[in-house]
Amino acid sequence: MRLYNSKPDEKRLQYENNCEVGVFSKLTNAYCLVAIGGSENFYSTFEAELADVIPVVKTSIAGTRIIGRLCAGNKKGLLLPHNTTDQELQHLRNSLPDSVVVQRIEERLSALGNCISCNDHVALTHPDLDKETEELIADVLGVEVFRQTVAGNILVGSYCTFSNIGGLVHPHTSIEDLDELSTLLQVPLVAGTVNRGSDVIAAGLTVTDWTAFCGSDTTATELSVIESVFKLREAKPSALVDEMRKSLIDTYV
């Protein structure tokens, strides 16, 4: 496990030497789901950061560890695919707070995490999702649902991640698409990369409104883009940051 303490509100980490943290975890404003791994390092990073704020739950879905890509949720609810076992469903119902509605849905596209991307107000879904599923999403998660593509990719859940404050999308997204999405979602969006140029955003990054976790391959540039769009540095006044930047430039020149 690699831990860089440079940014307090943002952590770079790995799951069993794999930088795709968004695959093995699901982070919302109300809870955090973590996959069961061989070592406890992954879990303990989340715990150290979040345990006093929200519950951190270890689970598997459908017997697999790729829970981040199989389920979709926000602070109001959690949607699980049809192949979730009853024990897992019960375990989740028990562990999560009562305000969170845990629902298993029958949907042909069972990787809900790849098909649905949402925050607490708006959700973007795969264009081929069923009508019933769409209604369920609107119901359970309490969001407005839009069918969209991101940079020509139908797996919107993989190629974009957004919180209530900002969002990061696939780097090839055109400016018109960016406008459109931003208008729909009502949050500022930026096109960027994570994990050293990888364009699968949601696999490399999980965010809440106050914190973010990304893979350890993420470069400093990517990190700065992430923290600016998700406003993770809002504690510091901007003038100080500007002065710091100026002095940095001086040393290089």
Binding site: G152, D179, Q186, G197, D199, V225, Y252, V253
Partner: protein, 569 residues
């Protein structure tokens, strides 16, 4: 819009988010240390990355069909390493970062040694081939690129020479290669390969250097006759067919010519060529020069001994009785009319012709009774046709009875002969002819002695143009011949031999003039120094000469001709 203004509406409610997002990008670009990127640009001046854009293709397709499409402008992202603004590509890194991280020329050869032979300007392609190539030529470029070992891991797009001093013993090539790197982006990079040229003589040059006159095959051409007409003719044939172009050395010997070759195959080829133009028999021998018994290689000197049959054109032959009978009772006295790889024999009394193969000849090797040196001149007193014109083996003959007398006898005594001749179509009353004087000849021939039948007194061979030639004032001919580059061992012979050679050559040239079929195989060239005489002799029967359309214009690379051309223009 400043950051404060943007921050004052945290919940952007319908406000255009485009400006904000761009604004963020701009802010980030301020942080970029421009000097760092400039450094990369200077030290690796490479062309930018190429990225595939499937969406652009789909757009073009959709527009082609007629659908309404929104024009898509690709925005910029930050390079994930250095943070400068750039167009998004498959690796999402700017070209400089990609180059600094990945070097596609890693593992490729940058420094190669090649071996060059300064004598024959060729380069060694191991293990044993030598390739001739000039500096900065296409062949050299191909050769140099072939010598690079791992070039199949990348795709080579371009190769060119970088100029180096010719005697610096260095050759530099700039290569542009392409390779696919992470996430499908194709990177193109140029790099230089330096070749160090080392001198080493190739085997053939080393052999030549050690012994410049070294030959491997020698062909010894011999004809045991007192004249050299055959060799003059053969010389012209060899020149026409370029048969001796591989010969290292050509030496003129007594009764023959020696040809020396660098390879046995050249010698064999030459022997076969001679076998096609003259009736020959040959034998071959070899002599061991050196050997390497460990690798079982042996170097030999090969000698081909080729003997041309001594029968020449216009020879009078008395056939041995066995051969005469086997040829269908061809009268024992025959004239040889034509010699190629077969000998054509004509019986002048019956106008029958037969051909003898080289093998057939050598089985019963007979010699000529009389040859053209012993021709005497006769004056035709009277001519009477016996049979009408016949076509014998391609040539026309008319059997006639001629009443002749020797020119040397004219005025002195009254000896005349009546002879049956085959030259009825050529000769008429009052002409001069050349023939063999069997009446007064003293021949030392077994076959002739054994022969019981009638031996004619005279055998006429050809028409004589001697008088006309003497009348003619012209010294030079309108045509000329080329000659082979022969070494002649002059020391032992002396002036008489030289004069004899000259007269023989003159006879040969006259022969060429008189016989168009002899000229057929040779190349005659126009003589530039020839001036037609003013008062041409316009006798009824002019001396035969070579018509102008048979002559070839000689290739003249001299300066005079170019001046003439300029004047004409």
């Amino acid at each position: 819009m400043t950051k404060q203004q943007a921050q004052s509406n945290p919940n952007t409610n319908g406000a255009p988010s485009l400006l904000i997002s761009l604004f963020c990008l701009h802010r980030l670009s301020d942080a970029v240390p421009f000097s760092l990127s400039a450094y990369y640009r200077i030290c690796c001046p490479f062309p930018p990355l190429r990225s595939p854009s499937p969406t652009q293709e789909k757009l073009a397709m959709a527009q082609g069909v007629g659908m309404f499409t929104v024009p898509q402008t690709i925005g910029s992202v930050l390079c994930c390493r250095c943070g400068i603004l750039m167009q998004p590509n498959a690796a999402n890194m700017c070209a400089n970062c990609l180059r600094s991280e990945i070097d596609i020329t890693e593992g490729l050869q940058k420094h190669v040694i090649i071996i060059f032979c300064p004598e024959c300007n060729s380069f060694l392609q191991p293990p044993r081939t030598w390739i001739k190539a000039e500096l900065e030529s296409k062949e050299l470029l191909t050769f140099c690129v072939k010598r690079l070992k791992n070039l199949n891991t990348v795709r080579m797009v371009h190769a060119e020479f970088i100029w180096t001093e010719p005697h610096s013993k260095r050759i530099k090539i700039k290569l542009k290669v392409q390779k696919e790197v992470l996430h499908g982006a194709i990177l193109e990079q140029a790099y230089t390969v330096e070749y160090v040229v080392q001198d080493q003589l190739c085997e053939s040059c080393a052999r030549v250097q050690a012994n410049p006159d070294q030959w491997v095959a020698a062909v010894q051409l011999r004809q045991h006759v007192p004249h050299r007409r055959t060799f003059f003719y053969l010389e012209q044939l060899i020149l026409k067919h370029d048969a001796a172009k591989d010969a290292i050395r050509i030496t003129q010997m007594d009764q023959g010519i020696d040809f020396f070759f660098g390879k046995r195959s050249h010698g064999v080829k030459f022997v076969e060529f001679v076998g096609k133009v003259a009736p020959t028999r040959s034998r071959t021998d070899k002599q061991l020069v050196s050997q390497d018994s460990k690798s079982n290689t042996y170097h030999y000197k090969y000698t081909f001994s080729v003997e041309i049959s001594p029968i020449c054109r216009e020879d009078l032959i008395c056939l041995p009785p066995k051969l005469s009978v086997s040829l269908g009772n061809l009268g024992p006295l025959v004239i040889c009319t034509k010699v190629t790889n077969t000998i054509a024999l004509l019986d002048p009394r019956t106008l029958r012709q037969c051909f003898l193969d080289a093998e057939q000849y050598w089985r019963s090797s007979f010699k000529a009774l009389l040859s053209s040196r012993q021709l005497t001149e006769y004056m035709i007193i009277d001519m009477e046709e016996v049979r009408s014109e016949e076509n014998v083996g391609g040539s026309r003959y008319v059997l006639a009875d001629a009443h002749v007398a020797r020119v040397s006898d004219l005025g002195k005594n009254d000896r005349h002969f009546i002879v049956r001749t085959h030259l009825g179509h050529l000769l008429s009353c009052g002409d001069c002819a050349l023939g063999y004087d069997l009446y007064s000849a003293n021949s030392n021939d077994f076959e002739l002695d054994k022969y019981r039948g009638v031996i004619p007194d005279v055998v006429l061979i050809k028409k004589s143009y001697e008088e006309k030639r003497q009348q003619r004032q012209r010294k030079s001919r309108s045509w000329k011949l080329k000659s082979l580059n022969m070494e002649v061992d002059d020391g032992t012979r002396g002036r008489e031999h030289e004069e004899k050679m000259n007269t023989e050559y003159e006879h040969f040239l006259r022969d060429l003039e008189e016989n168009p079929d002899l000229r057929f195989n040779l190349s005659l060239y126009r003589n530039k120094e020839y001036e037609p005489s003013m008062g041409s002799v316009a006798d009824g029967d002019d001396v035969p000469s070579v018509p102008l359309d048979e002559l070839l214009a000689d290739l003249d690379l001299g300066d005079e001709e170019s001046e003439e051309d300029e004047m004409v223009e």
